[in-house]
Point group: C2
Chain length 390, copies 2
């Protein structure tokens, strides 16, 4: 089969799936998407949308008929369901072994630890008593992070325990033991950084420049590239990226979120086996962005240049209210010729929902930061209730 006739199947049609398709379409690839929503961001630009629950085997069987290679935009999917595709002879990237190791936060940390990659101290807990035991000063002490080992994202599945008094509430919030739990040492970090990288089937890889992230209410707010960290921290982060790349046998784009502590140590916080929100800056700031390289990787193609062309600040646009989506400030923002706005095409805005993002590029990163901050007051996504002049 000629390569351009290869059909790509994506599990999940959210913004990450959509941005993968925009790159796949530059080469005219056929893309089928499996998503529970007929109105998902990918719906209008994919060739085939299969609407089914992501736990429904029928959807995967249908997807297998429309794809020659499978990828996913979301790690919290059923391995069993993906195994259906594997049984149909379809290659899946990242490989299921990689996904399995990552899906469970506890086994993820174990793999990291085994490979000499520093992580916050962690242990499984089963009960309120075990959490309290971990909170003792001779063990992890307080504050303490309680996490479900599976299913977490954007702060969901985690609870901060400040003192022993918070333990019962945190335990309840995370399902009162119905889900597997772990505790993690609280890291009083100086900075959060992330490394986005891509590895091809042949084992070649590219690492994008390290990004510096700020979260608000556990959701990514701003990414600044290059990160304001010293060369030795960059070098440590890149070493971790390279080690993990071969340890985990990624194929495609992935992200490692890390803490930089006050004394300059790096601890890995989380791994995402997919293109990542903190890598959106690559669309404007790099020659081959994280989505393009992901598509290249899963098709067995060599990867494109991941070096930074221009410093960049990315800011997420979260929904400010509930209702039919409206975008405000587009015209005013575009008076600055170095601004790009991306809207994911979600017809309904919800407070706190990721609706889009914008980037500012400037050779002077401080100018980019200043403008990105000013634009926070200007660009926003909500509903027409707020304003009819948008």
């Amino acid at each position: 089969m000629n390569i351009i006739n290869k059909k790509i199947g994506i599990v999940g049609g959210g913004q990450l799936g959509k941005m993968m398709i925009l790159e796949a379409k530059r080469l005219g690839f056929y893309v089928a998407v499996l998503d529970p929503s007929p109105d998902c961001p990918a719906h209008s630009i994919c060739d085939k949308l299969i609407v089914a629950d992501l736990n429904d085997p029928k959807g995967y069987m249908e997807l297998s008929k429309h794809a020659d290679v499978i990828t996913y935009e979301w790690e919290n999917i059923s391995i069993r369901a993906l195994e259906i595709l594997e049984k149909e002879g379809l290659p899946i990237y990242h490989p299921l072994t990689t996904l399995k190791a990552i899906q469970n936060k506890h086994s993820q940390n174990e793999v990291l630890h085994k490979n000499g990659i520093p992580v916050p101290k962690f242990t499984k807990v089963k009960s309120i008593d075990e959490i309290k035991e971990a909170g003792k000063p001779e063990n992890f002490g307080y504050p303490l992070m309680l996490k479900t080992t599976t299913g977490g994202y954007d702060g969901k599945g985690t609870a901060l325990i400040r003192t022993e008094n918070d333990v019962e509430n945190a335990y309840k919030t995370l399902g009162s033991g119905t889900m597997e739990l772990m505790v993690e040492e609280f890291v009083d970090f100086e900075k959060e950084i992330s490394l986005v990288a891509c590895r091809s089937i042949s084992g070649d890889s590219v690492i994008y420049p390290i990004a510096e992230n700020t979260h608000v209410k556990s959701i990514l707010d701003t990414t600044i590239v290059p990160a304001d960290i010293d060369m030795s921290t960059i070098s440590k982060a890149n070493d971790i990226g390279r080690k993990l790349m071969s340890a985990m046998e990624f194929i495609g784009t992935f992200c490692i979120e890390m803490f930089v502590t006050k004394n300059g140590d790096i601890l890995v916080n989380e791994i995402a086996p997919r293109p990542h929100n903190s890598g959106h800056f690559t669309i404007e700031a790099c020659f081959s962005n994280q989505f393009e390289n992901h598509i290249r990787a899963i098709l067995g193609l060599p990867l494109g240049d991941a070096s930074l062309q221009t410093p960049c600040v990315m800011v997420n646009l979260l929904g400010q209210s509930d209702g039919k989506t409206a975008l405000f400030g587009l015209e005013e923002a575009y008076k600055h010729p170095n601004v790009h706005i991306h809207l994911y095409g979600k017809s309904t805005s919800k407070t706190g929902r990721k609706m889009g993002h914008y980037t500012v590029v400037d050779n002077d990163i401080n100018k980019a930061k200043t403008l990105a901050t000013e634009l926070k007051k200007i660009i926003f996504v909500g509903t027409n209730k707020e304003n009819n002049n948008g």
Copy 2:
């Protein structure tokens, strides 16, 4: 209406329409396309494809139901049909007055001449005798260009007359007087250059860096940016761009193809009221490419940065044989991380048909040129008959 709910209608779903949609989709705009082919390049990424002949009023009536603003990717369309859309109250960009002035090559030249913009000498001709008269040394002399005043593109609608002996053949080739004809002085040019620019509804504009073009058999083969011309030529070309911009009242992206003569004069060859093949380099080499700025312009938004980020060479991929499209050399080409290939998604390859293009970016333009030339032997589009290893 909130701006993101504005529906865009495009007349024509070829590669230019497709690349407009890829940009429109970054902001999640709804796009309806009118094209005679259900399989056109835009078909899989537009929201609504209306399949109808571009001369069929019914197709335009249907398009009017799915759009709030209209643009087109192709200038040789029926003004009468577009007037149907205008009567339905839809704004059309570029405006119909602009399109009318451009559609007829003779009136185009008259507008240019009236505005003090240098063009090759030209005059209408109706018969073999009138062509022979123009060919006399005291008039235009030979060689002489014969052109239909309407409908020409990629060398179609033109015939080179080297001596009086060619006149009858050329006259026959261009329809024996069934179409309006003109002759034009033959320009023995040193270089062909083009200026791609965009003008917004508010009258603001951006001009992309001047591109240097090489045609093979009258079809664009290679574009190199920056053009290898001196500052005074750049300045003359930009002056022409600015003059034309206000004279023609463009709204959207347009292109001016120009000849640079051996003594450094510039003559305008042709105007295209749409994004142009010689502006494809802007996708990789500029922050806001010609398609993005076109979409911004027709929506009444300010324009994005059109300055050159990296030198770039663009090479067209023409079909090498007839049959089901296959792409060869992708993997080898992508061993160079600074190469991007675009395939337009035409399921059928035809010899000489524009199937895609590739770009090479490099801060050293000579390296980009060398690699772009090497890749001509490696990347090609044809059918599976040639090779099964692609």
